[in-house]
Symmetry: C2
Subunit: 304 residues, 2 copies
């Protein structure tokens, strides 16, 4: 089990390298991450985009392009479709966003002919290494599904369990979060959390242990669970996966942690046929490499 | 302006001491805070409860009870009604929970004859001193109103502006938060945030500057506002007050900050005729003293 990103990167570097297909690769921050991922044996890459611009940026970064395949396609839409088709056709294993807007990128992901759609909704998992917590924490969904339905939450749990298992967590513990840890009919989120728990008990949601509603402290911290007399809960201070009530709760917690806590993090899209990396400009190079490593373990698991 | 709790406590200690009325005061953690508040010239106190038990705990704490008025009332309900009536009648300035359950305590707060009800709903503000942020941050509502309506949010803003102003923030900047910083009709919270902003522009919400929807990073951090091209917003990295979409978002962020960040904090109830302190067992003595100081500045402001 990878308890932190150092473990995860070390594990990935010992496996056969997976290949990243980068859409519109002429992006300095993205190429820097691709270079670091290659040097650290996390991933190979095929760079699809404006070759001239790619070469200019690579020169700035002292990046040896002889180690990468480049496909020259100056048009952003065409480049994204070409890049995603490489994954669709099995010539690459993971798909990564470069210098194009998110909308165009997602359009390529969802393209009916060459994309990576599964028929299920896209979602997102972000993974945190938090000081004081001895395991990686997988959070969903802080960026994609605004108001997830019960069915969406089942998908989100399934997607995230797959990522956690790929990181070596054999039976992830899942906490559907709320402000409180008891069901309150006046708070629909708590009722839904109890429904998810029941679906897990009945075998509809598998490969994990679901227990909700839980407050964040009881989910993450043994001492808090003990103090609140919640040690008999199936998830009590040892949650691996946090399921947020909605995008607002998820995103606000995500932003608070990223800005206030000295964390390491990475994230990938979920609900796709192959791992997709949609990092934002504000992500550090380290966070981008962590995201590539997450994508690589998921791709390795899917190939089994 | 009190930029942190050290400032706030120093300011309070220089004013005439306000008096706390404690309901069911035979609680070790509460008496410890009352003792510390008295020693630091933050507040006097009247202790209502089981005198014998109060004296036993005071002995353990080496607390000099000659400095406090004690009213012997062993019954918890009677003690809470007596304690709240002291505030209602102007014999004390602030009301604090001791060793009784929250429900009984709130019942006394809302008592029609001797309580502190205003006719408006109760809410809650928690105040944080966060490393890296050069001012106190006032958050509402992380504990009381599950799904606040627009009207509730107007009340929450008014309540919290009063607390922030009592702490010396002359024109508090208020950020109604969401996952995003633009209005999206598919996300009702963002529409509501825009409505609150408009009500502020039109003079319905006064004594503050409201600007929403805002994401948490743009609300709190200048660099994030700059990076996202949001420096022209009325609130851009300098929010004093954060208004959460609902209790789940608020409580999850609150718990994350309390457990993951080395913060100082305090909190008080709002929507009452006089400041009410409802600390939880997990609050440190320091947090309880901070809460008493918040109550004291609000009481001082109300007395003007």
């Amino acid at each position: 089990m990878s308890k932190n990103f150092t473990d995860l990167l070390s594990k990935v570097s010992q496996c056969e390298m997976k290949t990243l297909s980068v859409a519109v690769a002429q992006d300095k921050a993205v190429l820097e991450a691709v270079k670091a991922a290659k040097e650290r044996k996390i991933a190979d890459a095929i760079l699809v985009g404006d070759e001239e611009k790619i070469r200019a940026i690579a020169a700035e970064l002292s990046m040896d392009l002889s180690q990468f395949e480049i496909i020259n396609e100056p048009d952003a839409v065409a480049a994204s479709l070409k890049a995603v088709s490489l994954v669709h056709d099995g010539k690459a294993d993971m798909y990564m966003k470069g210098l194009l807007d998110t909308k165009t990128f997602l359009k390529s992901v969802l393209d009916k002919e060459v994309g990576l759609r599964t028929g299920k909704p896209l979602s997102h998992v972000c993974v945190f290494e938090i000081p004081g917590i001895d395991r990686l924490i997988f959070m969903t969904d802080v960026a994609f599904i605004p108001y997830p339905t019960l069915e969406d939450k089942v998908n989100m749990i399934n997607y995230t369990v797959e990522v956690a298992k790929a990181c070596g967590v054999s039976t992830p513990k899942v906490a559907p979060l709320a402000a409180v840890e008891v069901v309150n009919p006046k708070m629909p989120v708590t009722v839904e959390a109890a429904e998810l728990t029941k679906m897990n008990e009945e075998g509809t949601i598998t490969d994990c242990i679901v227990d909700g509603p839980l407050s964040l402290d009881i989910a993450l911290y043994k001492e808090a669970a003990e103090e609140k007399g919640a040690l008999d809960r199936k998830v009590a201070g040892d949650a691996d996966i946090l399921v947020f009530p909605d995008i607002h709760a998820g995103n606000l917690v995500y932003k608070a942690i990223v800005h206030m806590v000295d964390v390491k993090n990475g994230n990938i899209l979920t609900g796709t046929k192959a791992p997709v990396i949609l990092t934002s400009r504000s992500d550090s190079c380290e966070a981008k490499v962590n995201s590539i490593a997450l994508a690589a373990v998921v791709a390795t698991e899917q190939a089994k």
